[in-house]
Symmetry: C2
Subunit: 154 residues, 2 copies
Amino acid sequence: MNSTEKPDDKLTFDECWELLADDALGRIAVVVDGHPEIFPVNYVLHRRNIVFRTAGGTKLWGAVTERPAALEIDGYDPRTEMAWSVVVRGDTAVIQDQEEKDAVDDLNLEPWQPGAKDHYVQLTAHALTGRRFKVAKPDIWNTRLSDRRRASFE
Amino acid sequence: MNSTEKPDDKLTFDECWELLADDALGRIAVVVDGHPEIFPVNYVLHRRNIVFRTAGGTKLWGAVTERPAALEIDGYDPRTEMAWSVVVRGDTAVIQDQEEKDAVDDLNLEPWQPGAKDHYVQLTAHALTGRRFKVAKPDIWNTRLSDRRRASFE
């Protein structure tokens, strides 16, 4: 990611894709019975689609062919004291084709958590937005555990 | 957080609240025009409600008095090689009362990102779920940047 002098910056498409390719853990938001649901997923990029495996159950993925979803990733670069966030909006579809599933498996999309992950779900991006900004209190990042990220995105 | 021998564990209410109190960055999912939206927020706990400040705009918070939302936090403990995730489901309401806003400010809910954060939004929990599990590939966590978290939650 290129450095920037601006305090709050929109990311280019290329920067967004680069960050998506470099990350592996995102949070997916979907609508179930009119209510928002959110859950973390491991994902890989496959032909510029987000692909993840999920147990999810029939409620989420069984009967529905397409479902609007949004995936968010974020992070912090301590060198530049910049935080960033990328959101992919699009439609999900369950992957049925076994060759497609095998291709995804080849990308090392492994479920690290115990339990069956029967559904291979693909999120096709219709919109891609990202931003990056200088955090005002970088010291808070450094005093926390390494896996806690402290920057205000809102 | 207590250690556990089980590979995949539901967290108790107390453990969920403890993790929520100890964290400050979550992702909020809401439904806008039938589509899911997701964005990261800094939050504080105020009387067991999640409170965050947001620009958000009239589209999200201007006209609506209550809006279903879900907040997710997650993390990883390298000592135990356990990852965890907590989800709060409930309704959001815009805080209008100035004394209430002042009380929230006293909790150090500062916008670290540049820009006005006009709305104080409160998420009242109706449901609280959390889980913790042993990651199968802890080495992946250790070889990445400290701000990247690698565990499959799905």
